[in-house]
Symmetry: C2
Subunit: 140 residues, 2 copies
């Protein structure tokens, strides 16, 4: 590796990747600051995110790179990236294409809120489905 390449990769080696080589990435709406989702990235996913300007995650369930929106069209244009004090979590500030980040057809994946008004707390759905997932994922 040349010195130039080494310098070029400093920003990646600053990150404390976990035992699986991953880091949690929080996607936040760049204009409203609503949190849309959290997913995981490996080094290649983060490199591609910066190169392409759109969020590329590592799918832990499918064990492959996942260019968000590749099926649905609901890509995330990345405006800025932030790293926390422990260098083990990042935030992406994004524009969410289609206004739908969640595979359930909702804007945000965080659509359940804990209702603590009763003795037994309960998760309650508090955000509407914008588009039926069957429609979203049947697109060609």
């Amino acid at each position: 590796m040349t010195n130039a390449n080494r310098d070029h990769d400093d920003w990646l080696s600053t990150i404390k990747w976990d035992a699986n080589g991953l880091i949690p990435a929080i996607a936040q709406d760049a204009s409203t600051d609503q949190i849309l989702m959290m997913a995981w990235m490996n080094k290649t996913a983060l490199q591609q995110t910066v190169e392409v300007g759109e969020a590329v995650y590592w799918s832990r369930s499918r064990q492959k790179l996942w260019h968000k929106g590749e099926q649905s069209g609901h890509t995330q244009q990345v405006h800025s990236i932030f790293l926390d004090c422990d260098s083990d979590v990042i935030i992406l500030k994004v524009t969410q294409q289609g206004g739908i980040a969640c595979h359930t057809g909702r804007l945000s994946c965080f659509y359940r809120q804990l209702d603590t008004s009763q003795k037994a707390p309960q998760w309650q759905t508090v955000a509407p489905v914008i588009q039926d997932p069957e429609v979203i994922y049947s697109k060609k």
Copy 2:
């Protein structure tokens, strides 16, 4: 376990705890929606958070419950809790006492932004230290 107890714990069993019995918890300012930090909770931490109304995390480095602010006074009053579609990430909407969530003395732990204006991207500090950590942690 009685039926009543079982019902009472349904909201906890909905959560998909990871292999270490933990879930990532994103703390977000309830009024501005700025993301303050991300930490981890086990079942007891989340139960205590709901009971106490202040954020209680599980410190992975110290392997113990961590009532945020126990040393610094910078507690987090919890207004609402959200769960994502995969049931494996939560958001806490909080009021950050002292306006400092980060152990570096900054409001948010996400104080470094990736500067991609040069050929070699770099993490740049973009938020000020509000109070010297030596002062924060010398409080009695």
